[in-house]
Each structure stands twice: as structure tokens, then as C-alpha cells.
């Protein structure tokens, strides 16, 4: 009985400390929330395959997509990455993933120092209101990511 009484506050303290730690993390790096946000397993797996299990940091990449999409069949998407695009420091690949389309992969782009700028525009399909994740691989092997949300009124892919 005494052990139980002693154990309870320890447990509570540990949980409180852990919670406080998480809160500090979330407050210190608001951008990090983009990666912690739970995505579908297939999307997580596709991103892991792209990065080869390397850590993905938030930042350096920008996604421009309309937040409210009338027609999910053509959604303009602009991707830019902050990079000098020199021989020593450039973007090698950019991959875009989605949460709720039948397949997680959207597009993979291969760039290099000959690109001059890391800026690509395309049009994509969205089957549902969802989050788009873009991951960029740099010359030094680091990975950076960003997300964008869209609300879709007319779904693509599945409907006729």
C-alpha cells in the first residue's frame, strides 16, 4: 500500500515533465510541427523511401498552392527552394507527396547547378482536402520540407 502511494506522485511528475518538454519544443520551433503532424502511413513510407531514412528539417522550401480549390483536377503548385544553386551548394531533387490521393507520390523533380534557380511550377490533382508535403534534397545530403493545406470542393482522380 505504501509503495503505491509513493509511486503515484513519481509517475505524475514524470508525465508532467514530459508534457512540459513537449510544450517547450512546440513553442521553440513552430515550423517543426509540420513534420510531427501525423500523415497516412503510405505517405510517411514514401517520404522515407525518398530520403533513405535521413532526418528531414522544416524550412528552406516554399510551397505556393491556393488554400481553397474549386476543381481538384488542376491545382496550380509553385515550389521554390532557398539555395544559391552553385556547384557546391544546390538542390538535387525535390519530391512532392500527398495524404489522401490513391497514391502518395505527386512529382519528383531533378535539378542541378545548371538550373540557376530552384523554382518549379506545375499543376496537380487532389482527390480530397488534404496536406501536400514537399521534400528537397540538397547537395550536402540534407533534407528540408514544407507543407501546404488545401480545401477541395470537387475531387479529382476517383470521380468520373
Amino acid at each position: 500500500m505504501t509503495t503505491l502511494v509513493q509511486n503515484t506522485p513519481v509517475h505524475r511528475r514524470t508525465i508532467l515533465a514530459g508534457g512540459a518538454g513537449l510544450l517547450t519544443l512546440a513553442l521553440a520551433r513552430p515550423g517543426a510541427a509540420a513534420i510531427i503532424r501525423p500523415t497516412r502511413e503510405a505517405t510517411v513510407e514514401a517520404i522515407r523511401r525518398f530520403t533513405g531514412g535521413a532526418t528531414v528539417q522544416a524550412g528552406r522550401i516554399h510551397l505556393d498552392m491556393p488554400p481553397l480549390v474549386e476543381n481538384g483536377n488542376t491545382v496550380p503548385l509553385a515550389i521554390t527552394v532557398e539555395s544559391p544553386m552553385t556547384e557546391a551548394d544546390h538542390v538535387r531533387r525535390i519530391a512532392v507527396f500527398n495524404d489522401k490521393n490513391p497514391q502518395p507520390h505527386v512529382v519528383t523533380l531533378h535539378l542541378g547547378p545548371r538550373s540557376g534557380r530552384a523554382a518549379v511550377n506545375t499543376r496537380i490533382r487532389l482527390a480530397d482536402s488534404q496536406t501536400i508535403t514537399a521534400v528537397a534534397e540538397m547537395r550536402d545530403g540534407t533534407f528540408w520540407s514544407a507543407t501546404a493545406d488545401a480545401i477541395v470542393t470537387l475531387a479529382a482522380c476517383v470521380e468520373g
Partner: protein, 106 residues
């Protein structure tokens, strides 16, 4: 032959970053859409796009069914010297189309 549109400046200064816009007419059938008979229409998409500048690859894209119909891609490249840019789209059912455009640098 699908209709392809390519837009890039005819002339550029050496070292300038130019923007290239490309669009090709293609249904990009996803393979998830039912046809009039209720069966799924088989997938027919463009899977790859490559741009070479004087034979050297400057941009490549791997597309999936999540790309919109009539794939549109804009990207940038450094105008190094007068030469030929070649654009190739490849896809399902042996689809392959190549277009060329010249640029004068100086």
C-alpha cells in the same frame, strides 16, 4: 503526336537565368476513374519529362497520376551558350515525343 507548347526567350545574355514553360496535351488518365461501363479506365500517363541543353541534362521530372491532365511544367536554366534545347516526354503505352527549341546567347 500530341500538341506541345514550349515557351522560352529566343535570346539571352550569357549566365542569365531563363524560365522555360512547357505544356503537352495528354489526358493523364489516372487508372482510378470508372468509364461509362463501370470498369476502371486503364492508366495512361506521362511518367517522365527530360530537358537537355546541348546534350546535357538540365531538368528532369518524374510524374505520377497526381499530375493534372495536359502536364504543365515551368523551370529555369542558365543560358550558357547558343544551342539547342531538347524536350522529351515519355509515358505509358510507349508514348514518346521530342520537341526542340533554339536559343541565341550573346
Amino acid at each position: 503526336m500530341a500538341r506541345a507548347l514550349i515557351n522560352l526567350p529566343k535570346t539571352a545574355k550569357p549566365g542569365a537565368v531563363i524560365e522555360i514553360k512547357t505544356l503537352i496535351s495528354h489526358p493523364m488518365e489516372t487508372g482510378y476513374r470508372p468509364g461509362p461501363d463501370g470498369r476502371l479506365i486503364p492508366r495512361n500517363i506521362i511518367t517522365e519529362f527530360v530537358c537537355t541543353y546541348d546534350g546535357e541534362e538540365v531538368f528532369r521530372a518524374e510524374l505520377s497520376p497526381a499530375s493534372a491532365a495536359n502536364p504543365y511544367l515551368t523551370f529555369t536554366t542558365v543560358a550558357t551558350k547558343t544551342g539547342l534545347l531538347r524536350f522529351t516526354w515519355m509515358g505509358d503505352n510507349g508514348f514518346s515525343q521530342t520537341e526542340e527549341a533554339g536559343i541565341t546567347v550573346g
